[in-house]
Amino acid sequence: MKSLILKTVSTTLLPLLILFSVFVLLRGHYLPGGGFIGGLIAAIAFILHAFANGLTQTRKVLRMHPGFLIPIGLSIAILSALAPIILTGDPLMTGLWYEKDIAILGKIGSALFFDTGVYLVVIGVCLTIIFTISESV
């Protein structure tokens, strides 16, 4: 697919879409959205880029193998689940919250980190599967 229009648009869309996916991730606790859907949107953004510019270009933009996002995401999720045991001695996965509101983000708690973990895992899984399949075809 060597369409100049798509190529031009996709390079501009990539950062915008990723920004949007982060926005969806962050608003998840109060409004429709969340880590899973955010991750899917980010994955689609990269795939769109890959369609327009070829896989090698997208890999360059990514700088690392998308598979590495999986262990990173899993670790963040597990750490956020373990945090209450370590920090306050509560049972696994108890929600911990920072009392004050933070600008833009709103309240910050362990659930947000957990969701970020989910977000990264979903990107990693989708991209790994689709990149692998498209390379092997």
Binding site: V24, G28, H29, Y30, L31, P32, G33, G34, G35, F36, I37, L40, I41, A43, I44, I47, G67, I70, P71, G73, L74, A77, I78, A81, L92, M93, G95, W97, K107, G109, A111, F114, D115, G117, V118, V121, V122, G124, V125, C126, T128, I129, I130, T132, I133, S134, E135, S136, V137
Partner: protein, 769 residues
């Protein structure tokens, strides 16, 4: 408190430690392994004095308190008896093996499994929580599996190991069922607390089922007829394993379980009668089999089964004297049988054969070993002044005074014991007496440990026989009252001339007579094999074979590797379920008014859906079919948007996009046209798809008419903000209320990605495929 837990778990830690040491270093310091059982033996001995005074030790560490599962250990006198047996015989076996398997390339692995087994066995006999009892019980089965198949390059070893695991595993399942049921009806998982309401066990409406489960567990583990056949097969293991697991300790776990629960079934005559019958059949059958075996270990295997039969039989008589006899017999049997096994092992190690018809005259070379074998044989035969003599006295005293038919019971006991005398003499005396056959060749002197270890056990048989008060003080004085509530009879070697002495004399003379007049031979052994077709072993194997063929058939039918077949089976089954439901129980109402209330945009969406479906079904190109599916997915998103589920809509939208991309990638290189199936197949698929859709729709309409239970929804809606500080209930459920599910889901996703990556990136060379 925690010290005891550490002690129980130390064997497991120790086995990990052995792994850390590594095979090579371990070969040079095998004595190191023996430190574990010896120090454990010393530790448990330190309790002996207080326990002899009637104290009971409880060690409690909570584990999963919400389920009532705790690391709850209780060291009473019965547990002490078993812990001393396990660690005592364990020390001897650990030391013996350093020489027996010297230089074996897998020696470290052997000690790893042996340590795991010892820890499991110690946990089993000290557990006061029935669930941990079950866990340790299964661990002994598993470690036994690895030890039987220790020579894993030999097919018979592997097969025997699988049979043993299957049979004992079956018993393990029964034990779990027993545990769950017992916990249900008593409301506690603690064994000692269950005892506070023994009438529950005896008179509950499920007491028969309870008994079936506990019998299944105990009989499989303790090799009772008709489950006995795994034990002779287990003799494929190296001799130290047979000594330790399959005669001295593990097979007695079933006996332990029965003894432990005897008080619970105190007044239930079915419990005791079943034990009596099964024990009697087992002991007579197994004792009879010893006549026809020529392999020393084969003889010992059947005499072990016979001994276990005697124990079950004694518990079944159910009187104070019979329980005492059973306890003494556990000690007697462990000492002489372990000794005989080790003697056999040394003979095998030095002479290279275990065939009793080819052995003889070994006393000249293996002198100290011959003494050990001789004493063990005496104890096995119940000759005075060994502890075996006292054990046999107690058995006769129990049969003469107990049960409905003392004459019958005594006759059976005498018959069994005569054959046990014979078996003992055959193993402990025959290889050493007479002339040495030419075929045996030069025999070297064994290492010190190879004769000294059986000697220790034999000497203990003699020592306890001379001083029976030791056994009484250590074990029977407290255990008998614990199990029966009555004081134990006094143990002594001489009760004066009476019927029991007469019976003992008959037994000994009868055994000696058979020993001199009946010569085991291969001809007799193969003659016996003709009856094998009816033996429980063959029947069980046939059943297993049938089972395997059925599962092959099912696999071929349902798992043939074609995705279309899987989808077809799933849809047909669901159609049947929905269809039957709709026909049997129609509660479908449609409000026509609601249908009329459709507005124009909904009608447009429906029309788009219909068009895309028809297009997908009838198009000739794969890619356009996929595009059609994509359109269908997007229109579905619109419906979600109209009905107020933006979360669903967003997810559906992205998933659909990704699915279409995936499909395109996969199908890109396939032929363009998709007319692959013939007319009949298409028709069949069409009918199945339509009926599935119809019935699903009908079921959904029915669900709409139901009044759903709102409590769950309400809980989440009310608490999402107060407990989890979130306003989006869906997301709060995902990351907080049911966050653990999400955690598992992302793990599953990761595994799927790794799977795809590994499958597609795997470039095998030709010879690896």
């Amino acid at each position: 408190m925690t010290v005891f837990l550490i002690v129980i778990l130390s064997s497991f830690v120790f086995s990990l430690l052995l792994f850390g040491i590594g095979q090579k270093t371990f070969q040079r310091m095998t004595w190191f392994a023996a430190l574990l059982p010896i120090s454990l033996f010393i530790y448990f001995s330190s309790f002996a004095r207080s326990i002899m005074d009637g104290e009971v030790f409880n060690f409690f560490t909570s584990w999963v308190p919400s389920l009532g599962i705790n690391l709850d250990f209780r060291l009473d006198n019965l547990a002490l008896l078993f812990t001393l047996l396990i660690t005592g015989v364990g020390s001897i076996v650990f030391l013996y093996t350093t020489q027996y398997l010297k230089g074996h390339p897998k020696l470290m692995r052997f000690y790893v499994f042996l340590s795991i087994f010892m820890g499991a066995m110690l946990g089993l006999v000290t557990s006061n929580n029935i669930i941990t009892l079950f866990i340790f019980w299964e661990l002994t089965s598993i470690s036994s599996f690895f030890l039987i198949s220790f020579n894993n390059t030999e097919s018979p070893s592997r097969k025997s190991a699988i049979i043993a695991l299957t049979i004992t595993g079956l018993g393990g399942l029964a034990l779990l069922a027993f545990a769950v049921l017992a916990a249900q009806i008593t409301g506690t998982l603690s064994i000692s607390e269950m005892l506070q309401s023994p009438e529950v066990f005896a008179n509950h409406q499920y007491s028969v089922i309870l008994m079936v489960f506990i019998f299944l567990a105990a009989f499989t583990k303790s090799a009772q007829f008709p489950f006995h056949f795994w034990l002779p097969g287990a003799m494929k293991a190296p001799t130290p394993v047979s000594t330790y697991l399959h005669s001295a300790t593990m097979v007695k776990a079933g006996i332990y379980l029965l003894l432990r629960f005897t008080p619970h079934f105190q007044n239930n005559s079915y419990f005791f009668t079943t034990l009596l019958i099964v024990g009697a059949i087992t002991m007579l059958y197994a004792a009879f089999q010893t006549l026809f075996k020529t392999d020393l270990k084969g003889i010992l295997a059947y005499s072990t089964i016979g001994a276990l039969g005697i124990m079950v039989f004694l518990i079944g008589i159910g009187t104070t004297s019979s329980i005492t006899a059973a306890i003494v017999f556990i000690v007697v049997h462990a000492l002489y049988k372990a000794s005989l096994f080790l003697v056999t092992g040394t003979i095998d190690h030095q002479a290279g054969t275990r065939d009793v018809t080819q052995l003889g005259g070994l006393r000249k070379v293996l002198m100290p070993l011959a003494i050990a074998g001789f004493i063990a044989a005496l104890s096995s035969g119940g000759f005075p002044p060994t502890i075996g003599f006292i054990g046999k006295d107690l058995i006769y005293e129990a049969t003469l005074n107990g049960g409905l038919n003392p004459t019958l019971l005594t006759t059976m006991a005498v018959l069994t014991n005569i054959l046990m005398v014979f078996a003992g003499l055959l193993v402990g005396v025959k290889p050493f007496s007479g002339k040495k056959p030419e075929a045996l060749g030069e025999i070297k002197k064994p290492h010190f440990l190879l004769w000294f270890m059986p000697m220790i056990l034999a000497a203990l048989s003699l020592l306890f026989g001379l001083f029976p008060a030791m056994v009484e003080a250590l074990f029977t004085k407290n255990i008998t009252p614990l199990l029966t509530g009555e004081a134990s009879p006094h143990l002594a070697i001489w009760h004066g001339f009476n019927l029991i002495i007469l019976l003992s004399a008959i037994t000994i003379l009868g055994g000696i007579a058979i020993y001199f007049f009946w010569k085991p031979s291969h001809k007799k052994e193969s003659g016996m094999l003709k009856f094998d077709a009816f033996a429980p072993k063959s029947l069980a194997l046939k059943f297993a074979d049938l089972f395997q063929r059925i599962s092959y058939f099912l696999t071929r039918t349902f798992q043939n590797g074609y995705l279309r077949r899987y989808v077809l089976i799933i849809l047909v089954l669901l159609t049947l379920v929905f269809g039957i439901h709709v026909f049997i129980n129609p509660r479908i109402f449609l409000e026509l008014k609601e249908i009329k209330a459709l507005n124009w945009n909904e009608i447009v969406i429906l029309a788009m859906m219909l068009v895309s479906i028809i297009f997908t079904v009838f198009t000739k190109s794969r890619l356009s079919a996929i595009a059609g599916m994509g359109v269908l997915g997007y229109t579905m998103c619109l419906i979600f948007v109209f009905y107020g589920a933006p979360d669903l809509a967003m997810t559906q939208f992205s998933i659909d996009t990704l699915t279409v991309i995936l499909f395109v990638l996969v199908l890109y290189r396939l032929p363009k046209y998709l007319k692959l199936s013939n007319r009949t197949n298409r028709l069949r698929d069409g009918i199945i798809a339509t009926s599935f859709g119809t019935f699903l729709a009908l079921t959904i309409i029915e669900i709409m008419n139901e009044n759903p239970i709102k409590s769950t929804t309400q809980y989440y809606a009310e608490n999402a903000y107060t407990l989890a500080k979130g306003k989006n209930v869906v997301n709060v459920i995902l990351v907080d209320f049911r966050g653990f599910d999400t955690m598992i889901e992302i793990v599953v996703l990761s595994i799927a990605a790794i799977g795809v990556f590994a499958l597609l990136k795997l470039h095998l060379k030709k010879h690896e495929k």
